[in-house]
Symmetry: C2
Amino acid sequence: MTDGHELAIALRAAYLALHRRSEAAFAALGVTADQFVLLATLDRGDALTQRELSRRMSSDPSTVRAMLVLLEQRGLVGRAPHPTDARARTVALTADGKRAFQRLWAAGEPIRAQMLGALRPDEASALVSLLARVARGLSAESASAPATSHSPEDDV
Amino acid sequence: MTDGHELAIALRAAYLALHRRSEAAFAALGVTADQFVLLATLDRGDALTQRELSRRMSSDPSTVRAMLVLLEQRGLVGRAPHPTDARARTVALTADGKRAFQRLWAAGEPIRAQMLGALRPDEASALVSLLARVARGLSAESASAPATSHSPEDDV
DNA sequence: TATTGTTATACTCTATAACTATA
DNA sequence: TATAGTTATAGAGTATAACAATA
């Protein structure tokens, strides 16, 4: 019989294993695992507001800002005024950032291959789906979930 | 088709959701999510060496030490000389620590219930198994894994 | 020689609260 | 009134390297 604690510990162990391997793989390029996630999110959704970026990364906006400051100093990302909302700023990869991300993506390839190699294709797909349900179950409910807030357009 | 990046992001999102809910649930009791994991590990395997504790938590020994110092200051854990290995120290919950853990365990119950509530029993069990395979795939291999080191007996 | 644990150190992520500017 | 972002601040976890004591 599987209890919740066992599931929590298994989830933690798998994530930490992934995180450590990622830190090691990206360290030579001077980027942390979380910074890689940020860059990858930008690569897929250019250009996002900081708020939308933080939502997609499931990180706090002020955490994301701290990360952006570091990445901006290194010239990997740039921020520009939002075209229609003067409060907001859009974030995007710079040319340097795009080149760096290509190298990072390649450096992460063995990790992705290793994860997939431990699973059959149908298992990988099932795992993603189960994880999504767990995540959804954990964030919503429990307090008759408040409606998601309105925000300026994500992509510009 | 499920790619490795998608899996990595889903794993991260699920873990972070769990971590945040845990931080919130345990904050009123003055304990972090990671400290809860440490206490739970001790509750199940009294008394461990620091090294074995760090292994079971998949954390770095020096990280675990930093956590132990904090928990020892608050009287939740105690360290004693190892009975047969003078280099090692065993860690265990104090009486206060055991009482605190009981409250923490109760505070975490809604989280465990919510995770399990999102899954059928067979799915929960399958998820644990898939996560374990991913974790194993990520830590071993890749460099013809070195043998695990020998260590003094885990339990005293 | 290898291992347990300690110490010193540094950095990233994390998050809260108070604040400004804009919607 | 609510939202986007900034600032200040604090703390936790993370990890490396050098070291002592012991196996």
